[in-house]
Amino acid sequence: MTIPFTLPKQRWELKFSEAYPLYTDAEAIAEANRCLYCYDAPCTKTCPAGIDVAVFIRKIAERNRHGAAKTVLASNILGYSCGCVCPDVVLCAGSCVLKDFKKPVIQIARLHRYATEKFLSDGKHFFTPATATGKKVALVGAGPASLACAYELKLLGHEPVIFEKKTLPGGLNTTGIAPYKMTAEDALREVEAIRRIGIEIRTGVDISSQIKTLLKDYDAVFIGVGIGDDTELNVPGIDGDGVIGSIEWIEQLRLSDKPALPKNTKRALVVGGGNTALDAARELAQLGVPEVTMVYRRTAQLMPGFRHELNDARIEGVHLLEHAVITEIVREKGKLKGARVRASDEDIFLQADIIIIAIGQAKWRDLLMKFPDVELNEANEIIVDEETGRTGNQRIYAGGDATPGMKLVVQAVADGKRAAQAMHRELLQTGKGGA
C-alpha cells in the first residue's frame, strides 16, 4: 500500500537494522506452537487493549493468519505498531505461565506484528461501520489515542475528524519511536490503513485559536495531543550547538535527511533515566558512537525506564553513570567540549561531542487550559474519569500521553476506545442529545 505522505529518501532511521525482524511463516508457527493456549489466559487479562492473545496465537499455529489479524484488530486497530513497540515482557508476556515452567515466555509482540502485517500491506478492513448517525466528533492530535478513538467512533456510525498540527499524522509512532523497533514509513502505512475506513485527517492545522468553533461544530471533542516539547535543563552553557532535546533528536533521526550527528562523534552524553533517554542512548550506540554515557541523578533501580531496555542498552555498550547531575555545559569559543558533572559527591569533567537532554517533556498546559472546564493535575495531565475518559466538560474526552497512566501506545489505544464507547453511550446515540 502506498502512503499519501512524503518522507525524505535518505533518512537516518534507515541506517538502523531491526531489533526483531518480522517473523517468517515457519518462525511464527513454531513460536505459536510453544503457546499452551491457557484457559482464561493471563496474557489476555494483562493486555490494556484486551486483545484475546491466546486465541490469536492459536490461529497463527493453525496457519490462519487472516483470522489472527482479525482477532488482534478487533481489540486494537494499532495492532501492528503495538507488535513493534509494545514492552510485552512487562505486559502480556510478563504474565505468561511458561515463566513458572522455567521456559522462555512466548514472544507475543513479535507474533502480534506477524499477525497484522498483512493489514498494513493491503489495508483491508475486517469490520464495517454501522449506519451513519450524523454525529460528528473532533479529535485533536493524530497520534495513537485519537486514531483508536476515531476508528471506534467510525465503527459505531459516527463521523470523526482528526486535526493535527504537524504535517505528518501518527504522533510519536511517526516521530518518536526508536528506528530499530519501527520505521516512520511503517507508522504512516498504519495510519493510512486505519484512515481508509473513512476517517478524515486534517494535517498542518493548529486548532488552538478555534476551540470554541470546534465545540460549536462538533457533537463531542477528544483531546489526544500527547506530550509536549523536552523539558529544558537549566545549567550554564546549555544554549548553543551540540545540545539537543530527545524529542527533537529522534524526530530529526526519523524524518530528516540532515545528519543527526556531528562528524567524528566519539563521545555522547544522554541526560535522564526514562525510556526516551534509553532509546536515545541505544540509538547513539547503534549509530556507532564509541562512548555513550547516560547521566542519571538516581540509581539504576530507581530508573523509570524499563529494566530490559537498560539491559539491552548495556549490551550495546552504553555506560550508566548513577547519582550524577550536570552542573555546567563547557564550551570553547561556542563549540561544545563536554560537561561538568557532580557524580556521587565528586566533581568530574566528561568530554562530549553531543549531549541529548531527556529529562522529561513539558505538557501542552497553555493549549489545554483553553478548553473550557478541562482540569489538569499537578503534572499538567488532563484529569479524566477512569470509566469513561471524560474531562470536567461533559462534551470533552481525553486519552493517551496527555492523561495520567502508562505512556504506551497500547494504553493510548485503550484510552481512545474507552472514550469512543463512552461518547457513544452518553452523547451520540440518537435521542440522547448532543450539541
Binding site: N33, C38, Y39, A61, S95
Partner: protein, 449 residues
C-alpha cells in the same frame, strides 16, 4: 550388565534391536554401516521381482510442531535386481556372522516362492520373513496385504514356505484386518516359526488444500499408503499383546510399530515380544540411535534386577485382561500439586467440557458436603493475590478418568491418587456370575412415556 542377546525361533542376535524391512535395509552399504554401529540384526528390504517406484513416496504428520509423529509411504519392495540383492546379503552375512540377517520375501506362485526361498537361503541368511503385509501397490497384484487379509491363504503360503525352507520362517502380519488373532492363528497352523507385526496401516496423511490432492503428491494425484512411526505404537502394542495372550499361538513374536526408544522396545517385550524391529526412527535420526537403544535397555534391566532381556519378555501380559475382569470398586481421583502447577488452567475446560465437571478455579466455593481439600486454601490465596490461578479438585465428583493429568503440560503436576471405597474387589464378570448386574434407570426399568 544384563545380557541383551535374544533368540527368536533359533535366530540369534547380540541384542533385540533389528532394522525392519524398509529403506534402511535396502543395500549392503547401508546394512554394514548399521552393523558397524551395533545393530543386532536386519530384515532385508523385501526382495522379489524388481518393481518401479513413484516420486514422491512419503507423507508425514506433525503434532503442534513436532515433526513426523506418523509417516506414510507408497514405496514398494526392492527396485534392485534380485542377484544384486542376493550377492550383497551373502557378503553382509559373511562379514557379520554374529548378527541376524533375515531376508524378507514376496512372490506370487508356489513355484516362485520355492525358487525365491532356495536362492535366498543360498546366501547363508539366518531366516526368512514372508511379507504378507504391504498395503499398497503389491496387494493389487495379489501379494502383500492381499495375502495377509485372507487367513486361508496365509495358512497355505506359510505351509509352502515351511515345505521349501530349511531356516526359520517368520510371517509378517498386516494390521489392516478386524481381529489380528485370526491371521496369527492361521500362520501358526501353517507352521510359522515366528510372527512379526505390525506392517503398516493403510492411510492417507493429509490433503493439499490449495490443489485438492492428498499427500504424498505424485503428479497431481495420490494413493493410500502404509502408516508407521510413533503414532501407530498403541495399535501395535495391542496387536502384539493379543497374540501373546492367545492360547493357540505359542510361537515367538518380533514386534514392529512406532518403536523409537528403548522404552518403546521394553514395552513391546513386556507385552510378549522376543525382539523388536525399527524403521521410522532410523529414517528420522539415522542408525546412530542404536547406542541409546542398547544403553537404555541395558540400564533398565540392571536397575530392575533382570539378568537378561529374556526375563522381560511377557512380564506385562498377565495384567492385560478383559474389561469384564477389571475391579469396579477401585477408585482414583485427581490430585493437583499446588507447588508444581503453573496456572495454565488447561485442566479446567478439559474437565468441564470433556469430562465430569470437578475441577474449579480458585475462588469458587466447594459444594456442601463434598471432599475438596484445596478449595478453601485456593480461595484464601486468591484473596491475597488476585493473579493466583492454581485450580482445585472436587474429589466427590471426580470419577478418576485421568483426562486432566493428560492435558497438564507440567510433568507429575496432576497425579491420580487412590481413594478407599471400603468395598471388596468386584468385576462385571463376577456380577454376572452372581446375577447382580441390574442397574436402575435402563431401557427395561423405566416405563415408556
Amino acid at each position: 550388565m544384563a545380557e541383551l542377546s535374544v533368540n527368536l525361533a533359533g535366530i540369534k542376535s547380540p541384542n533385540p534391536f533389528w532394522l525392519a524391512s524398509a529403506p534402511p535395509t535396502n543395500s549392503a552399504e547401508q546394512v554394514m554401516r548399521a552393523f558397524d554401529l551395533g545393530w543386532g540384526g536386519v530384515v532385508w528390504k523385501t526382495i522379489g521381482d524388481p518393481i518401479v517406484n513413484v516420486s514422491s513416496r512419503l507423507g508425514s504428520i506433525d503434532a503442534d510442531g513436532i515433526r513426523m509423529v506418523g509417516l506414510n509411504n507408497i514405496e514398494l519392495i526392492t527396485d534392485r535386481p534380485l542377484n544384486e540383492n542376493l550377492r550383497e546379503i551373502r557378503e553382509v552375512k559373511k562379514r557379520f556372522p554374529d548378527r541376524a540377517v533375515v531376508v524378507s520375501i514376496m512372490a506370487e506362485s508356489k513355484d516362485d516362492w520355492r525358487e525365491l526361498i532356495r536362492r535366498s537361503e543360498d546366501t547363508g541368511c539366518d531366516g526368512l520373513e514372508l511379507n504378507f503385509g504391504c498395503p499398497h501397490g503389491m496387494c493389487e497384484r495379489g501379494m502383500g496385504s492381499a495375502v495377509g487379509q485372507e487367513p486361508k491363504v496365509i495358512r497355505e503360503i506359510t505351509a509352502w514356505a515351511r515345505e521349501f525352507a530349511s531356516t526359520p520362517v517368520i510371517v509378517k502380519l498386516t494390521p489392516n484386518i478386524s481381529d489380528i488373532v485370526e491371521p496369527g492363528r492361521a500362520a501358526t497352523e501353517g507352521g510359522a516359526h515366528a510372527l512379526s507385526l505390525i506392517n503398516t496401516i493403510k492411510s492417507l496423511t493429509g490433503v493439499d488444500l490449495d490443489n485438492f490432492v492428498p499427500f504424498p503428491v505424485v503428479g497431481g494425484q495420490s494413493t493410500p499408503g502404509g502408516f508407521c512411526g510413533p503414532a501407530v505404537k498403541p495399535i501395535a502394542l495391542h496387536m502384539v499383546s493379543a497374540l501373546a495372550k492367545d492360547s493357540k499361538i505359542n510361537i515367538p513374536i518380533s514386534a514392529i510399530g512406532g518403536i523409537s526408544t528403548w522404552r518403546d522396545a521394553a514395552e513391546f517385550m513386556a507385552l510378549g515380544a522376543t525382539n523388536v524391529q525399527i524403521c521410522t526412527a532410523v529414517m528420522h535420526y539415522g542408525y546412530r540411535i542404536i547406542e541409546q537403544l542398547t544403553d537404555g535397555l541395558s540400564n533398565y534391566l540392571d536397575e530392575h534386577n533382570m539378568a537378561s532381556a529374556q526375563e522381560l519378555i511377557g512380564r506385562a501380559v498377565p495384567a492385560v485382561v478383559d474389561w469384564g475382569d477389571l475391579n469396579l470398586n477401585y477408585k482414583v481421583v485427581a490430585d493437583i500439586n499446588q507447588e508444581k502447577c503453573i496456572g495454565c488452567q488447561l485442566c479446567i475446560p478439559a474437565c468441564h467440557d470433556g469430562a465430569h465437571q470437578c475441577i474449579y478455579p480458585p475462588g469458587v466455593e466447594a459444594k456442601p458436603g463434598h471432599t475438596a481439600p484445596h478449595a478453601a486454601e485456593a480461595a484464601e490465596k486468591l484473596a491475597d493475590d488476585p493473579t493466583y490461578r492454581v485450580p482445585w479438585v472436587d474429589e466427590t465428583d471426580c470419577v478418576g478418568c485421568n483426562l486432566c493429568a493428560h492435558v497438564c503440560p507440567v510433568p507429575d503436576c496432576i497425579t491420580m491418587k487412590q481413594v478407599e471405597t471400603k468395598k471388596p474387589r468386584e468385576s462385571w464378570n463376577e456380577r454376572i456370575a452372581k446375577g447382580t448386574t441390574f442397574i436402575p434407570g435402563g431401557l427395561h426399568d423405566s416405563p415408556a412415556s
